[in-house]
Structures are given as C-alpha cells and as structure tokens.
Amino acid sequence: MIEVSGINAFYGTSHILHDVDIHLPDEGRVAVVGRNGVGKSTLLKSIMNAGPKTQGEVRWNGESITRLPAYKRARLGLQLVPEDRRIYQHLTVLENIRMSEFASASGKPCMTADELVGHFPMIEPILTRLGGQISGGQQQMVAVARAIACRPRVLLLDEPTEGLAPAIVEQLVENVRGICDAEKTSLLLCEQNIWFARKTTDRVYVIDTGRIAFSGTWDEFDAHPEIKQQHLAV
C-alpha cells in the first residue's frame, strides 16, 4: 500500500531521517517505535509531504507520489493525526469532523455523524461544542474521528496516547482496532507506548536517531530483548 524507500528528511540544515525504508502492506498494521526526537513524527510528515524537505521515494500502490502536495495525498486516502492534534478551536467538533469531506477519496461517502458516534461514543455529547472547549482526551478522540470520517485507506497516527489517562488509552485501543477492522484501514502508528503499539499492530519498526534499527513481528521483537535495551530504554 505504502512503500517508503530511501527517505532522507531535513529541517533546515539538520538531517533528521537517514535512508529510511518502511513498507506498509494492504490492510497492514505497522508500528514505528522509538525514543523522543528520533524522527518518528518527521517520518509521518514526510509521508504526507507536510513540512520537512525530503529526498527519496514514497510509493502508493506501486505509483510514485513523491511530488504530490499534502492535500492531494489526503485525497488519495492518507490521513495523518498529528501528535499535537490540531483541532480547530473556532470550529465546533462537528465542523472539525465535516472538514474531512475535503479529503473524501474517489466519491466514497463520508461517515454520517451517527456512524461516527458508533465508533466513538465519547464524542456524542460534545458534537456542538467548540474545539477550544474540550479536554485533551476528547481532543484526541475528535482528532482520530475526524481523520477516519471520510474512510481513509491509511491512517497515520502520531503518538495518540501522549498525555492521555490510562483508561482512555485502553478505550483508544478498542476504537482504533474497531475502525481498522470495520473499514479495512491500514495503520501506521508512531508510538513510545509499547503496550499500545503491541495491542494495535502486527509488525514493528524500531527507529533510532533517524535510522531503522530493527524491523519484524512483535514475536521477533520479543526474541531480541537487547533491541529494547539498546534503542528504547531511556
């Protein structure tokens, strides 16, 4: 589905990603784990062409989309939920979600509010509230709901558990799995929370200082405890 090959990413003169290769298969669920500041967010933003300067190639179903601007990638069916959520404060929750209609891919109808509430019961009581008036946990739910509202093919989640209470993190596991099952959405997740990553994905990449240090299934990850020690321990 998405094939990232030899991506180098830069912010100004600082070289963040070094020859990163990532493969996300159709309906695959892949986690990228790593410490703070190793380039996880930069990787997702590079895939969306939203921010960093990049070299290398991003392919979508075998076709290169390296030159496409971010909004066109969104319209292909790529939805990124940024780690800072970026809910529009001056719009209501429903309006925030309605915005995703711009990304509606190839005429597939977006989810109705009811359908969305089915996936995220938590957002029902806050639909008419302004984005600036909801809690951090609610913002995260709205950010994910907004991203899936137009049935993207691929969901890119950037540290969705950051700053969330444990109960909400558990809730989010159910939400994310439920959506990916129901909509056959592929998932590329960047996380520091290994527990959450393991619950929601099948394969894992470990990234350290901009380079891929390991890739494999979670069983293979567990078979090499030194990886955790070397690249993830704080």
């Binding site: 969306m48 971010a70 909004y71 969104a74 970026r86 529009y88 915005m99 711009f102």
Partner: protein
Amino acid sequence: MLFAIINSLTTGMAVFLVAAGLTLIYGVMRILNFAHGAFFMVGAYLVSSMVGQAPPSTLALAAAAILAAFIVGLFGLVVQRVVLKRVQDADEHYMLIATFAVMLICVGVVKLIWGLEFLSVSPPPGLEGGNMLGPVFVPTFSIFVIVCGVLAFLLLELLLQRSWAGKMLTAMSRDRLMAQLMGLNVPVWMMVAVGCSFALAGLAGGLLLPNQTLSPVLGDQFLLMSFATIIVGGLGSIRGAFLAAILLGLIDGFNAIAFPNIPGVGIYIGLVFFLLVRPNGILGEEQI
C-alpha cells in the same frame, strides 16, 4: 462637536474600507502588502475612467466600483501567481521588498496610463450636498461612506464567521498545515483570499473616489493610514481594524480641531501610544 465626530467617522470608515483588504491578506497569508494602496488607487482610476468626472448616478458609481473590484481582484490573482506565490515561504523581508516592487510598478503604470495631472471627481447626484441633522450640516457623501464602511464590516464578519467558506478560510489562516492534511486545496483557497483582498482595495478605490483628488500619490496616503489601522487593531483582525479605524478617525478629527496647524500628527502619536500599551493590537489575539 457632532460635525467633528461625523467627519472623524467618515475618515475612519474610508480608511477601514482600504484596511479591510490589507488585514484580510495578512490574516490568511501573513503578507504585509505594500502594494495594497497602489491597487486601491488603480480602483479609483478605473472608476474615474468609467464614470467620468461627474458620475451620472449613485448606482452608476456603485456598479463601476464593483466592476473595478472585479478587475483589481483579477490583478490580485496575477500578482499572487507571479510574485507572492514565489516568496510566500521566504523570509518576511523578501515579501516586503517584493510587494514594494509591485507597488512601484503599479504606480508607474498608473502614471503611464492616466498621467501625472490631478483629477477630481464630484459625487453623483443624490450624494452631493448635505442634510441638516439637527443643527449640524452633514454632507450626504459622508453618510454614504459611513454606511459603506459599516456594511462592508458586517458583510465580512458574516462571511468569515458564519459561512462555511469563511470558516474554512479562517481555519486555513490559523493552521495551514492541518488544512492541507484535511485535504483542503490550500493554493486555491489562497488565490481566493488574495483575490478578495485586492477586490476590496479596488472597491474602496471606487467608492471613495468622489471628493478625492486623484493623483499617483493617492495610494500612499491611504496605505499609511491603513497600516496604522491594522497595526493598532491587531494584524489580521477585521474587527480590530474596524475598531481601530474608528479610534484613529476620532483621534484625527480631534487633531484637526485642537491643533489645526499640525494635521495628521495625532494618528502617529496614537499609533505610538497603542504600540506601547497594546503591542499586539487591540484584538491582537484574535485572528481574521
């Protein structure tokens, strides 16, 4: 006193009509557009060519102003395409120099087409003369300008705050990156915003044409006042620009009465005062 207030409001609303477009383009694109005054002037010249020095009717003036708005809006699209787009991600200084260059070119073209001599256009029948408001004589054209200013403000507020397109424009100005991630065709929305901003300049030029002395320096006068207005109001805030236009208009009116031998100084003293007290502008935290 009432006469002075009405005069001040007239100045204020005239400046607001120009400043609205200036603050809109800043709000959406973070551009300080030095060429705004020049395009205001182009609007005025276009309308003067359309209606002549004695406009036949208010309707003709308004229609010509709207047509001028449309034409200047198109110029805006060209400027966006040719100039602004290339420098939008560059340092602010480049943007300033680029729009300054556009201004110089624009003024030069105006001189080539319309010449250097001063032109004046009288108000159309219906807007000339005045009315007695109690004991005070109020020029009809003043009332026209005030009504236009308030209408423009209400319309812009309504469009930006209530309409879906306005909300999207505001969203794009607050967080362009997220707008792209949501699939908004940001370059096209930018074009719309720039087009609207320039069209506002052209419209203002047309509406304010009567009672002005039309010359190639007309743009500069209004540009300075407009910059003062949007700085005091808070860059990018329409509401702020509206309030600041009234405030600066009043200050200017007071200046004209109290210190008639140093006209125009009050505005700058006011500007300095507000910069010291509210460096981000009256409504600096609000956007658009």
